[in-house]
């Protein structure tokens, strides 16, 4: 029996935060669609060539995230490898958030398959204990979605996240503040949400191995040695909810990043440039949607051997015009592009976004850019009506013509194949409910 550990906090639930984490989310969505996939090893990511999500059966067989198709076939020859169907995954993701919202308005959509909810003070309204609330959330997700999830409850986001990871898959763990020390004593500090590799190394150097070692550290030591994010994590482990829930949808971006991987990899200058231009165009579309402009940007191209080559550049004036960005990055692209190398990924990022378009420079390119900005407003209107890329830059034609993956035709998601459309559905639009195909 462990010796009595010192409490980190005297109250169990000063706040009550739930963390819901879907297990094997994408693979599980596919298993819900087709009974023949249930109970079998299934991987998602055929079009990328790597596993992005694995069913429990595939995980048990040794398949891990990021594994290449060749390796998957080696460790688990019977594994079924499917392309991603982001449309259906998105529908399931909305369901997850809506189900949790039935128990609290304060829901943070943390990622496609994860969310936080603040259920403090919901007990009377729902006439349930905290335990009953989390049990009901889990039950609703299990029944209504069919997919599996792990749920954690704690007095802070960080502890709730530890709770949801405690037992997987399909776990439900409650960590009251008073008992947090028992959950932290054997947990490596690097497993705590918000502790990155560098911090972990630093803490290890100071003799801090477990989350509890970290939580027991004195306040003056913490302030002297660490920065705000880690100090927040320390407070959260001690039961102080300092990380607030981001319950509003994100409508402000500090940066916009677009990245695309294509298969097969290419050594064609025009092809890689076209694909790069397409991500620039996409980033600009997003920036314009939120009325943002930027002058700091970077681009990179990644080789088939996962080496990055790129540049960070600065424009004279912030814009959201792809032509300006493309003109600026073209000479640098030509400098780094090597036709002897195969490339597989292109990336473009805009930083320090602002809502201001800045002072118009009457003698420079300002007038021309103002004119182009009018054109792009019109293009956005047309594309909103007729679909993204209905009007696009000539240079991105190559990328649009072939899709991101040659397999886009061979590796089309089940739902995207015409034989699986419902009456009236088209290549562009399908009904916003999951469709599971024929049943006898």
């Amino acid at each position: 029996m462990d010796k009595e550990l010192q409490c980190l906090t005297v109250s169990s639930f000063r706040k009550a935060i739930v963390h819901v984490d879907m297990d094997s989310f994408f693979a599980s969505c596919e298993q819900q669609r087709d009974i023949k996939l249930r109970g079998k090893p299934v991987c998602i990511g055929a079009e990328r060539g790597i596993a992005t999500s694995m069913s429990i059966e595939a995980k048990n067989a040794g398949v891990t995230r990021g594994m290449t198709i060749r390796d998957i076939k080696r460790v688990c020859p019977e594994c079924i490898i499917l392309p991603s169907d982001y449309e259906t995954f998105g529908l399931y993701s909305i369901r997850l958030f809506e189900i949790v919202r039935q128990y609290s308005d304060a829901v943070e959509e943390y990622s496609v398959d994860e969310c936080f909810a603040d259920i403090t003070s919901m007990r009377r309204f729902l006439n349930m204990t905290y335990q009953e609330i989390v049990e009901n959330i889990k039950h609703d997700i299990d029944v209504k979605m069919g997919t599996i999830c792990s749920v954690g409850l704690g007095p802070t986001k960080t502890l709730a996240k530890i709770a949801s990871k405690w037992k997987k898959p399909s776990g439900l763990t409650i960590i009251p503040g008073k008992l947090a020390q028992y959950y932290l004593k054997d947990l490596p500090v690097g497993k705590v949400w918000g502790i990155g590799n560098k911090t972990e190394e630093f803490l290890k150097g100071k003799g801090i191995r477990t989350a509890l070692d970290f939580a027991y550290k004195r306040e003056d030591w913490i302030h002297a040695n660490l920065y705000k994010p880690q100090i927040e994590t320390w407070l959260e482990l001690r039961g102080h909810a300092v990380k607030t829930l981001q319950t509003e949808p994100v409508d402000e971006y500090k940066s916009i990043s677009k990245r695309k991987t294509f298969t097969p990899p290419s050594a064609g200058r025009d092809e890689v440039f076209s694909r790069l231009c397409k991500v620039v165009e996409n980033a600009c579309i997003k920036a314009r949607r939120f009325n943002l402009v930027s002058k700091n940007f970077s681009f990179s191209i990644m080789t088939n051997n996962f080496l990055h080559f790129g540049y960070e550049l600065k424009l004279e004036r912030p814009v959201a015009n792809p032509i300006t960005f493309i003109t600026a990055l073209k000479p640098e692209f030509d400098r780094i592009f090597n036709p002897m190398i195969l490339y597989r990924t292109v990336q473009f990022s805009m930083f320090e976004l602002s809502g201001e378009s800045g002072q118009l420079d009457l003698f420079g390119n300002g007038v021309e850019e103002a004119r182009q900005s009018t054109i792009f407003t019109a293009i956005d209107d047309i594309n909103n009506k007729y679909g993204k890329h209905a009007i696009h830059l000539g240079v991105t034609y190559f990328a649009l013509k072939d899709g991101d993956h040659l397999g886009d035709r061979g590796h089309l998601a089940w739902r995207k194949k015409p034989e699986n459309w419902l009456p009236g559905e088209t290549k562009r639009k399908r009904v916003n409910l999951p469709y599971c195909g024929y049943v006898k």
Partner: protein, 142 residues
């Protein structure tokens, strides 16, 4: 994600309710001022279905023909564990998924029954799990 929850809840399924239609004539023909005062209701409300628990299936074969469910019909189903005996359900039976009537025998054991006198009832050998209840049948013509 570009598909917002609002799309599901309000835009797509909101239909103005224009009064009852009789074959050949309209009762309560809508005029513009009246339309303003009409409340709209969700198709989801009309069908009494929880859209966030719903899925679509398509029927293959005529095993439910006597219940008015034909080959190629689209089924709107709600995933739930609150089913009743006599419901038309989507059930998993011994590794197969099927649409049938949910029945109970004299010993209180669940089994599935087709709405087609040519097809025998399905008695689970290993297991039977009800996944969803059929809420609506959608048939398109033309």
């Amino acid at each position: 994600m570009t598909i917002s929850a609002l799309t599901i809840k309000h835009t797509s399924y909101a239909l103005p309710f224009m009064g009852v239609m009789h074959a050949g004539k309209t009762v309560g023909f809508p005029n513009p001022s009246e339309e303003e005062t009409h409340d709209t209701m969700d198709l989801a409300d009309l069908l009494q279905v929880d859209m966030f628990a719903s899925k679509l299936f398509r029927v293959q074969g005529d095993s439910m023909i006597e219940a008015g469910i034909l080959n190629d019909d689209v089924l709107l189903v709600e995933c739930t564990d609150k089913w009743k005996i006599g419901d038309i359900v989507i059930a998993e039976i011994d590794g197969e998924e099927t649409v049938k009537y949910l029945r109970k025998d004299n010993q209180g054991k669940l089994f599935l029954e087709a709405a087609n006198s040519k097809i025998k009832p399905m008695i689970p050998q290993e297991y039977l799990k009800v996944k969803a209840v059929i809420k609506s049948v959608i048939r398109t013509y033309g």
